[in-house]
Symmetry: C2
Subunit: 332 residues, 2 copies
């Protein structure tokens, strides 16, 4: 019996809201690796908000995901067969395998990872989300000891690292998250100084109380009301690392900022960024993050779905905020 590769392709682009019907599960034969290629069995698939943006056929920083092609995505797995001297069966590798159980890749697109960490850490705090946090914190916000740093989507894979890095540097870390359970996690498990529930009716007042000395840096994943409310507390010379605007619902509607006057009067630095522009930081940042994960200094949490068939539902759930920490699919 031949082992088949089960994979999820983009069947249609979301019109209005995303739905399971936008995805299609397929089973295809596994091709042997060509010259210089490596065949990998994926162990964990990473689900990330940026994928939703790529499902639209709109001009963005990334090319749109093609219809009827495998959904793109970061993965960790094990080499099954290799036509390249740098890789041998059994090696643990990180790469962009997408939403499928097996993939072949040019060896240059794979990176060997150290089994000293759980493999899925390379999709979380020691991978893209960690690197995203690292860049925004150290290269844009540059928190100083005693400053107050606020991060939205604080219980997520990126936000959870942002606050811990800020705190490790002596800043006060304030999270914004949806619901009391996530807020408790952010404070009790991740060690933030406070977390404010944006779903609460008293959000604006709660946020004001959490930042008595104002805000010196915002790591923004959400935009909209959360960002506007936080901006009202910005101190002079504060910084905004603009990483995501997920509250926009991923449609084509413009996402306003309520008051630009604050950016002027408080002399704010705002910088939009995308991790893939900053490959130069990867070696140093990866080493730093892996060391913090290994030592236990950097806490992280996983929400794990099982089996490729469940990836669409897990993805839609994550977009709705159902996950705590890194959303993964365990492909076994």
């Amino acid at each position: 019996m031949t082992t088949l590769n089960h994979r999820i392709v983009l069947a249609s682009r979301p019109q209005g809201g995303i739905s399971p019907a936008n995805f299609r599960l397929e089973a295809v034969e596994i091709a042997p690796p060509g010259p210089g290629e490596v065949l990998v069995r994926t162990r964990f698939l990473s689900l990330d908000p940026y994928m939703r943006m790529r499902m639209n056929d709109a001009k963005s920083y990334a090319a749109p995901q093609n219809l009827d092609e495998v959904m793109v995505g970061g993965t960790v797995g094990e080499v099954v067969a290799s036509n390249h001297p740098n890789f041998a069966p059994g090696d643990a590798v990180a790469g962009g395998g997408g939403w499928q159980e097996f993939f072949t890749a040019d060896a240059r697109a794979l990176r060997k990872v150290d089994r000293a960490l759980p493999l899925e850490a390379y999709l979380g705090p020691a991978g893209g989300p960690g690197l995203t946090a690292w860049h925004g914190v150290y290269n844009i916000i540059e928190p100083k000891a005693g400053e107050t740093i606020l991060v939205s989507a604080a219980a997520g894979a990126v936000g959870s690292v942002v606050g811990q890095l800020a705190k490790a540097g002596g800043a006060r870390a304030i999270g914004v998250a949806g619901g009391p359970d996530k807020c408790r996690h952010v404070v009790d498990d991740l060690g933030f100084d406070a977390c404010v529930d944006y779903k609460s009716k008293s959000f604006a007042a709660d946020l004001a109380r959490a930042v008595p000395n104002g805000i010196d840096g915002i790591f923004e994943n959400v935009g909209g009301t959360v960002m506007d409310t936080a901006m009202r507390h910005l101190n002079p010379f504060s910084r905004i690392a603009l990483c995501g605007l997920v509250s926009g619902g991923y449609n084509a509607d413009p996402m306003p900022i309520a008051d630009a006057t604050i950016l002027l009067t408080q002399r704010v630095l705002l910088k939009g960024f995308i991790l893939s522009d900053h490959l130069d930081i990867f070696p140093r940042a990866r080493a730093d993050l892996a060391a913090r994960v290994a030592s236990g200094q950097l806490k992280w949490h996983r929400t794990v779905a099982h089996g490729i068939a469940n990836a669409p539902a897990a993805f839609i759930g994550m977009l709705g905020g159902a996950n705590l920490g890194k959303q993964l699919v365990d492909l076994g």
Copy 2:
């Protein structure tokens, strides 16, 4: 007969719109300078948009202008009497004399200026407006040859310098101004590559036509529709120097940015700034700007009112866009 000092004080704060009734003309005796002080007769008073913000009793970067006190403002003039060894009668000095004919100041608050330039140049391209342009262009936008730089309020004291500095560095300079006369001035007299009339019904289409390669830098003096329309053309890694938001009408209403998504997808750097935070650039920037004015490379235009009694009307006119280039009051 004693010479009196005629001065304008803030009589009341604007409610709704600004009006001449917000100002009061007074005549007072001139006090002799105290120890370490200098008595100056003002030759030119500078009128600037920031003064309007200070007339509000609102939290901003500058303390509000006090009621019944002389309106603050930059001035150039001549020393009449001096109790400080560095200054002698007849010296030309720049300082913050405010809206009045004479003032006494601590000698440390005055700066001797070179009569090689017309005195009023130190209130224009070789003074605050020039320095503001210089900082935004060189320290925030950093235009490269071949890039497209857009500046709003291009016919004003700051905007006119912005475009010329960008152009001198090999960039394409595009202005936005109100009305065909100002636009003609910006292109024909100041040498910009193009100027778009924001009052025209075809503004958005005209702007699109003027920036076929997109926009790499915006020097923003205006905000609102002008800024939102320009932002739609931002290229990846573009920069916005946020210097003013005068279209907000100087009231307390928030001034939105229509679409923050652009800041993210185009990885934009936006920086709000205020000249007084950047005293470190003054020596180098002043020397550079004065040399460009002296050589005739940097063109500038004045709109001059005469007599302190006419300062309020000139100021209100300037806020409405009646001036071309630097708005001055000649105190004779």
